[in-house]
């Protein structure tokens, strides 16, 4: 038996299924659910990864399979990597930013807990994405309000779940959870700014040395 085989063989599928199913519970009872998720160990990183993957897959399906009445997509320029980035980058950025911030504001959560909270909060979006696909093929453009209000609901639901998750994971009051979440957004923008600046400086630096090299080579060739 290979190492991978052994690893797969040792997975407790029943436990994994329970953890995954728990996202349905956090969806309905966020305050209770997110407390248990961390403190009663009802969730796991494996299930969280699965939820993020599901989010990515359903977003892809949503873009490709939804009726063009609502989501026109040019398959010539469509880029799945971009979609992946749009799903994964916010999670990573938010987890890191929130963790950096809440360690200073005596939050109880670990980085992995924040990640799990975010991933479990995605559950309503996953489900509504899947519901919207067949729905879009039976309603007309004029009835699009049904379709778009579902999208709005999924976003609001997600935000509410995320707030509840932050509150329970860090053992905060609601106002403090809101405050740290908003501050996390500020931290995210600072991080993005630094990244962009870093790459701009590095590419300029590289360009400088490249042109220096070219100049030198030209002079050498000319003698």
């Amino acid at each position: 038996m290979t190492a991978v085989g052994r690893y797969v063989g040792n997975i407790d599928w029943k436990k994994y299924g329970r953890e995954l199913r728990f996202s349905l519970y956090t969806m309905r009872r966020p305050l209770d659910g997110f407390w248990d998720l961390i403190h009663e160990k009802r969730g796991s990183m494996a299930a969280a990864h699965t939820l993020v993957a599901l989010m990515f897959i359903t977003t892809l399906m949503w873009i490709v399979l939804t009726s063009f009445q609502f989501v026109p997509v040019n398959m010539e320029t469509f880029n799945a990597w971009w979609t992946l980035g749009m799903n994964v980058v916010p999670i990573v950025l938010f987890s890191v930013a929130n963790w950096c911030l809440t360690t200073l504001f005596d939050g109880k959560g670990k980085l992995s807990h924040i990640y799990m909270g975010y991933a479990y909060a995605l559950a309503p979006q996953i489900i509504i994405n899947i519901v919207q696909i067949p729905l879009s093929h039976v309603i007309t453009f004029d009835e699009g309000a049904i379709f778009w209000s579902l999208s709005t609901i999924s976003y609001l639901w997600f935000l509410l779940l995320l707030l509840c998750a932050m509150k329970e994971i860090h053992d905060y009051s609601f106002s403090k959870a809101i405050l740290t979440s908003i501050l996390s957004l500020a931290v995210i923008s600072i991080m993005v700014f630094i990244f962009v600046m870093f790459f701009a400086v590095v590419s300029d630096g590289v360009a400088y040395f490249v042109s220096l090299w070219q100049e030198a080579m030209l002079r050498i060739q000319r003698g």
């Binding site: 063009f68 009445q69 609502f70 026109p72 040019n74 010539e76 320029t77 039976v138 007309t140 453009f141 004029d142 009835e143 699009g144």
Partner: protein, 492 residues
């Protein structure tokens, strides 16, 4: 041996075929004609217009045109304001396609005394019944507008004395550029230094007010920045001023077509007598020239429209001075095609200044080259016109065949797919209509066709719902009953 013979004969046939000339559909592609596809990407198209004449002053034997700024069609006559030569040149176009100079005018008669022009920028010749053939000249640097009869005798003169004091700032000269006169004799003037719309004069030449000024739109973002600005910054002329028009013409229905170089408002507008914009903008993008651009060859940014002209069937053409292109739109504001570009050869432009139409023929004026280009419709362009015409008159069957014909010549033309789809929708072929609306990305019309299709599908397949609902209503109680009976039997 047999195999070899086959190979040889195949090779022979192929080599002969490759020697045959290859024909593109339509009439070639000399004018870089294109249109935008459903994803707003420019795609090539057969030429819809071709160059019939490329007219220079030398060809007419009257010397080179010097910075001509305006031209005006009247019947089969073409009036050209040859600005820097201080003259008006009139060309006559004959039935057989030839042309000749009919007249060169260098002055008008004021009470019998000749009075010369100084850089006239605009001319208008009345097509209306009650003042047919009367001429208005924007004698720009003499600061006057001359209204003359067809023998060039002055009827009225509009100068600064006809303006109210509030009409123009003291330090600004009255510099009329382009003129249009409507069927009631009202005169609309586009003038330099005027950003309050068009100057309107009554038929006696008295100033009646400004009309048609584009609304100034201030975005919340601009408002925010203005709020942050210091008093000094605000005083230094941070004003939200309306934009200036740069041309005015009148179409066959009496609406004014105005253009502006500004990016803040619609760059081409169709004004009614009240001065409000009545242009229909049902296209994916508003009529504005290019909707996608790179920045090659130091030419970037959106189109700068300098002229517009209405055609007999309600379509209109705009002239872009940024890239020397012409864009044609239908009555609903869908772009049909664009052509020409920047260059020194026939059919291309260096500094577009004016545009007018004689029937469906277009006359485009280039100030830098001093050239008049006459465009006439090709087979492809005629076909599109016919299809539009039939569709507007409600002959959907015939328009369907013509749109198919257009598509055969140009499969890139998304508007034709729309035409086919609409014809199919009107005839009740909803499923096919959906397919064609899908091809043009027209989601709202797709929704309409789909609505009809869905209703028919529901009517035909209603039994499915009956069965499903029936099953849902009947099965659970029966199962429950059966289970209950079974339990009772087991218990006993």
């Amino acid at each position: 041996m047999k195999k070899r013979l086959i190979c040889f004969s195949l090779a022979l046939v192929l080599s002969i075929v490759s020697l045959l000339p290859v024909y593109a559909t339509g009439s070639g592609h000399q004018l870089h004609t294109f249109n935008y596809n459903e994803w707003n990407i420019p795609v090539p198209s057969p030429d819809a217009y071709r160059v019939a004449d490329f007219i220079l002053g030398e060809h007419l034997g009257i010397g080179h045109f010097n910075n001509p700024r305006d031209l005006q069609v009247h019947g089969n006559l073409l009036y050209v304001a040859d600005t820097e030569n201080h003259r008006i040149v009139i060309n006559e176009f004959f039935e057989d396609g030839t042309f000749d100079v009919a007249d060169v005018v260098e002055h008008v008669f004021i009470d019998g005394v000749p009075s010369t022009f100084d850089r006239p920028n605009g001319i208008f010749v009345s097509p209306w019944a009650f003042n047919y053939g009367e001429i208005w000249i924007a004698d720009t640097h003499n600061n006057r507008i001359l209204h003359v009869d067809s023998d060039w005798n002055l009827i009225t003169l509009i100068d600064r004395s006809k303006l109210e004091r509030s009409a123009l700032e003291e330090h600004n000269a009255f510099l009329p550029n382009k003129i249009a006169v409507d069927f009631s004799g009202r005169i609309f003037v586009q003038a330099t230094h005027v950003n309050r719309g068009l100057m309107e004069f009554d038929h006696d030449g008295y100033f009646a007010g400004y009309m048609g000024a584009p609304d100034v739109t201030v975005t919340p973002w601009e408002r925010f920045w203005r709020m942050l600005a210091t008093r000094e910054q605000r005083d230094r002329g941070w004003l939200f001023v309306p934009v200036e028009y740069n041309s005015v013409s009148i179409d066959r229905e009496g609406f004014l077509m105005v253009t502006t170089a500004s990016e803040d408002v619609e760059s081409v507008r169709r004004l009614n007598a009240m001065g409000s914009d009545v242009m229909i903008r049902n296209g994916f993008d508003d009529p504005q020239g290019d909707t996608w651009w790179g920045s090659a060859g130091h030419i970037g940014g959106p189109s700068v429209l300098v002229a517009a002209t209405g055609l007999p069937n309600g379509t209109f053409v705009v002239f872009d001075s940024n890239r020397g292109r012409l864009f044609k739109y239908d009555t609903q504001g869908h772009m049909l095609y664009a052509w020409a570009g920047t260059g020194h050869h026939e059919g291309f432009f260096m500094n577009p200044s004016a545009l007018d139409s004689m029937g469906f023929d277009l006359f485009a004026l280039d100030a830098q080259m001093g050239a008049i280009t006459r465009f006439v419709l090709t087979e492809y362009g005629t076909l599109i016109n016919e299809a539009l015409e039939l569709y507007q008159r409600g002959h959907y069957e015939e328009s369907y065949t013509l749109w198919r014909e257009v598509l055969r010549m140009n499969g890139n033309f998304q508007h034709a797919y729309g035409g086919v789809a609409r014809a199919l929708l009107r005839r009740g072929y909803y499923r096919q209509a959906m397919h064609y609306f899908r091809l043009t990305n027209d989601n709202s019309n797709f929704g309409r066709a789909f609505g009809f299709y869905r209703r028919i599908w529901m009517e035909e397949n209603f039994w499915i719902f009956v069965v499903v609902v029936g099953v849902l209503v009947i099965v659970p109680p029966v199962v429950k009953k059966v289970l209950k009976v079974r339990r009772e039997i087991l218990a006993s």
